[in-house]
């Protein structure tokens, strides 16, 4: 009967495809991780190894491929395949892969997710990766970044890059309004005055102040001398934190020079800035490549350092939030020895220079950030690297994934008008404090 034939055919087809796959899987497994971390580089063994390298940003693929090519040039037996997966799917995929012991050989790690993987023993401890090396080691990286990928005293990733937040401004709109471009003399008050003038003279929004932590209120909170979470303690309910938070929220709520939260739901700050609908925004350095790929905004904007707090409760009034990624490898990797060798390479000065020149992001290795500046010499990218001097690591803790959403929901209530700043910080102090106490 026809149906039976079909069924038979189908089963046959499935069995065949299964068998074909089993074969290919065993060849990749053959490279097995028998070698210890201190063994000779995989390149010397003469064994062919193919490593997979998981990333989530298509804009950085060429940069990662340049790194892979440089490594293969030195170690012809090792080929590295860069696999890009969109941000949302990346983490679902990584979680499944981790459960099944099938993680990529090398993959990007983010501070939001790091603790989950490190605490479940998914990442290889790389604390001693550079032992005995003279020209390499973790002292070459910003301390905050190294600390960020440290869990229970052990380091689980090689720092990849860092980013800071700057003030992006549209030169054309500034010219049109006759306002002087932002520079290092700017304060919170100057920003407000400039935004007001632009709105009055041109009708264009002077500043975009959407709800945002990394590219928003965290910067002003630390500029005022406050903090949210640090060393397992909360600092929400302090005068300085309140001042910084109130200032940032006021930019949207108290003046008419910023679009409202309703308007940002229609089009986000970046879209509005790139379309010439707002004159200024706080902008993370990771946006530079996409912005320079957009011919609408390319050539019309530049970057300045963030304005300083006018009357900070404590400190100099300067701060810019920084954060960064790391490269990690899996404890269950089949090619662990080769992966660790590649990881070691990624943390060298040479690799960081390649990374910087590709324009992917600011390389983490101290002193190599200059290479990133050369990618777009027409922009004042130095503003980003200069701010590292007083950069503040993006706040986090083991339980960030739990208190992060609470912070967002509570501050959003201030925007929605259901809480005042004072009520919000009091609430955060208790609720986040309770979560931190469980660490």
């Amino acid at each position: 009967m026809k149906t039976r034939f079909l069924a038979l055919f189908l089963i046959l087809g499935l069995v065949l495809s299964l068998a074909a796959c089993g074969g290919s899987a065993s060849t990749t497994a053959a490279a097995g991780g028998q070698a210890a971390t201190t063994a000779a580089p995989a390149g010397d063994s003469g064994e062919k190894v193919k490593l997979t390298f998981g990333i989530w940003d298509s804009y950085q693929k060429p940069g990662m491929e340049a790194l892979a090519a440089a490594y293969t040039a030195k170690n012809p037996n090792v080929t590295i395949e860069v696999q890009v997966t969109g941000w949302d799917e990346y983490w679902t995929k990584l979680e499944a892969a981790a459960s099944g012991g099938e993680l990529p050989d090398i993959f990007w790690m983010h501070t939001n997710e790091f603790v989950k993987y490190a605490s479940n023993n998914m990442l290889v401890d790389v604390t001693n990766l550079y032992d005995g090396a003279t020209d390499a080691g973790y002292s070459n990286f910003p301390e905050g970044l190294v600390k960020n990928f440290t869990y229970d005293g052990k380091l689980y990733g090689v720092p990849k890059d860092w980013d800071t937040i700057g003030l992006a401004y549209n030169k054309e709109i500034f010219d049109q309004a006759g306002v002087k471009y932002p520079d290092d003399t700017w304060t919170w008050d100057t920003l407000v005055e400039a935004a007001k003038t632009i709105k009055e003279k041109t009708g264009i929004y002077g500043f975009a102040a959407p709800y945002d932590d990394q590219q928003g209120f965290l910067n002003t909170v630390y500029q005022a001398g406050g903090f949210t979470v640090a060393d397992g303690k909360t600092g929400y309910n302090t005068d300085a934190t309140k001042m910084g938070l109130a200032y940032y929220i006021s930019l949207q709520k108290d003046y008419d020079f910023s679009p409202t939260q309703e308007q940002f739901a229609d089009a986000d700050a970046g879209t509005l800035f790139q379309s010439g609908q707002v004159a200024m925004q706080f902008l993370g350095s990771w946006n530079i490549t996409p912005y320079m790929n957009n011919e609408d905004i390319k050539g019309k904007f530049d970057i300045a350092i963030l304005p300083k707090a006018t009357n900070p409760v404590s400190g100099e009034g300067r701060a810019s939030i920084y954060n960064g990624l790391a490269y990690a490898t899996s404890t269950k990797g089949k090619n662990q020895a080769a992966a660790l060798e590649f990881l070691k390479f990624l943390g060298t000065k040479e690799a960081n220079i390649i990374h910087g020149e590709s324009g992917a992001a600011i390389p983490a290795f101290n002193g190599t950030s200059e290479t990133w500046l050369t990618k777009f010499p027409e922009l004042n990218l130095k503003a980003y690297t200069d701010m590292m001097e007083y950069g503040i690591q993006f706040p986090g803790s083991k339980t960030k994934s739990k208190w992060g959403p609470i912070e967002k929901q509570t501050i959003m209530e201030v925007y929605n008008g259901t809480l005042t700043v004072d009520e919000a910080v009091a609430k955060l102090e208790t609720e986040v404090g309770a979560i931190l106490a469980t660490e």
């Binding site: 983490w91 679902t92 979680e95 981790a98 459960s99 989950k116 479940n120 998914m122 959407p210 709800y211 945002d212 939260q261 309703e262 308007q263 940002f264 739901a265 229609d266 089009a267 994934s401 739990k402 959403p405 967002k408 929901q409 959003m412 925007y415 929605n416």
Partner: protein
């Protein structure tokens, strides 16, 4: 032997005969279900009694997740939002699908082309759907507000996706729009199975369009409609992706729009609270089960099976 006795024997024989074939014919499906779905379900069920189960590590916490869930205002709000979403999408969606399916089933010019167009949204990239509807709903430049302004002769500035009262209805419109193609296909299949002779007989009796619709079309297509209803109910109660794409967590209307599965997604994949997320799945499951059970009881009143 009496005739009833013969019938009983026959029936018993047929029952055992049927049973063998029955088990054989459902075997592949049931086997697959056990492996693919029932086992993972019990896995989730088990997880709901534990604290963050990750990569096989967990800690038994008993009913803690359930206690937390029933005292979580976000969960109750999400439940309310989900039920509201069902109310917004299911009745209207089915009515429109049936109306369009009937229209596409009538003898009109360009029927094939029209059908093809109605099925198109099913294969359009979700990113395109979210993008285009966000533009349509845009307060300042959106076509919908511009059209309304033209109609009223006054400037209309409705915050479709950021007004807490309108965001969920706006998402519901998109949901109906993107699922109507599926429902039309199913209902068309049902409509086409109706023998033309029924309509011809009614024509001879002088029945008009309306009476044919209610006396032939609806009863004859009711098994398919029942199917569509159940599927729509389940899909609406599990709504996640559309709301997720259109209403982010910094939208002022977020609290009034977050559905149960949206909350599940955030707890499971963003907060990493698998145990609590599993409890949410169980809760959603119970709600869907209740809705489905009611429909299966209620169908006896309006669904006509030819038996």
């Amino acid at each position: 032997m009496t005739s009833t006795h013969i019938a009983q024997v026959k029936r018993a024989r047929r029952l055992s005969h049927d049973a063998g074939w029955g088990y054989l014919m459902v075997a592949p499906t049931i086997l697959g279900l056990i492996i693919l779905n029932i086992y993972p379900f019990f896995h989730s069920f088990y997880m709901s009694f534990s604290e963050t189960m990750l990569f096989g590590n967990w800690e038994w916490v008993g009913l803690d997740n359930y206690r937390k869930m029933f005292s979580d205002p976000n969960m109750w709000r999400a439940t309310g939002n989900t039920l509201y979403f069902v109310l917004l999408t299911v009745p209207l969606g089915i009515f429109l699908a049936l109306a369009f399916a009937s229209m596409l089933n009538s003898q009109i010019k360009g029927r094939d082309a029209l059908r093809a167009i109605y099925f198109l949204p099913m294969i359009v990239a979700p990113a395109a759907i979210a993008m285009v509807w966000k533009w349509l709903y845009n307060t300042e430049y959106g076509l919908i507000n511009q059209f309304l302004s033209l109609l009223i002769g006054d400037d209309v500035k409705i915050n479709w996706i950021s007004n807490p009262k309108l965001a969920l209805p706006a998402a519901a419109i998109v949901a109906i729009w993107s699922s109507i193609g599926y429902d039309i296909i199913l209902l068309l299949a049902g409509l086409q199975a109706i023998p033309r002779s029924y309509y011809e007989a009614a024509d001879i009796d002088g029945a008009n369009f309306i009476s044919k619709f209610f006396h032939i079309t609806i009863p004859m297509v009711s098994p398919t409609m029942f199917f569509v209803l159940i599927m729509r109910l389940m899909a609406a109660l599990k709504q996640f992706d559309l709301v997720y794409m259109m209403i982010t967590d910094t939208n002022p209307a977020f609290q009034q729009s977050q559905t149960l599965m949206y909350l599940f997604y955030r707890e499971s994949f963003q907060v990493g609270n698998k145990g609590y997320a599993s409890a949410l799945v169980l809760w959603t499951f119970v709600i869907i089960l209740a809705f489905t059970a009611i429909q299966f009881v209620g169908q006896k009143k309006w669904v006509h099976y030819d038996q």
